[in-house]
Symmetry: C2
Subunit: 141 residues, 2 copies
């Protein structure tokens, strides 16, 4: 899978999974909605109901910025499987103007965010490495 | 989401995402096919083409057995979102009889594994904690 294909599949995916690491050295993984701009992946803490413990993702990032973001496709026909992973460094955004811009990107991708802007915070992940795999490298689309 | 619902959604899912942690403290996440028996999740290294570096999941587990397994459902109607996570301790199976039994469970779930038994190794994850979330707790099914 070439760099263009990796990026296209990441950009087009509607949801991803975010893996972080806790101070105890244990992994934590949650689904996220996200938007990509250049080499940055943005996601927001949104209004989907959460218990307090779900913000473990933010505590983990504050202590260890290394994250891994996976988008993948599964179906029972394994010839159609693929995945793309973006590893990077996450930070919780502090700048109001930059945060607003990220929320705008998220709202462009998800109508739900246009109706109800996520309260945040917003996390920005600088992509440092991408990898991917597809059962069939260049399927007819 | 109650314990029965958590287990049912995990059991029924066709694919999951496995997060591990590297010796460098960085998370790593890959999609897996898997089978559940009691409190154990099994997955096999299979014949889906892989580069050597993809076995990072096994190196990570050998050094740090803590893993997190996520199954989730996304669709653009966010009222139908849900996810279930199983955190646990992973080990690469050494016992031939137990490995054979795990491969049998995987073959029962996936026809592809009946046609071509995965070469392995097989990893067993003892579930230590489950968590989950659904936008609507008890949807009509």
């Amino acid at each position: 899978m070439d760099a263009t294909d990796l990026r296209r599949r990441l950009d087009e995916a509607r949801s991803a999974r975010l893996a972080t690491v806790g101070p105890d050295g244990k992994p934590h993984v949650v689904p996220i909605t996200f938007a990509v701009d250049g080499d940055t992946v943005y996601f927001a803490v949104d209004a989907k109901p959460k218990r307090t413990t779900d913000l473990k993702r933010l505590r983990n990032i504050a202590a260890n910025p290394s994250v891994s973001v996976l988008v993948d496709h599964y179906e029972d026909d394994w010839k159609r499987l693929w995945w793309v992973r973006a590893d990077g460094a996450a930070r919780i955004m502090a700048d109001a103007t930059q945060t607003e811009r990220a929320l705008e990107l998220l709202a462009r991708k998800y109508p739900q965010y246009r109706d109800a802007r996520p309260p945040g915070p917003v996390v920005a992940i600088t992509i440092q490495r991408m990898a991917g795999w597809a059962a069939i490298e260049n399927p007819a689309r």
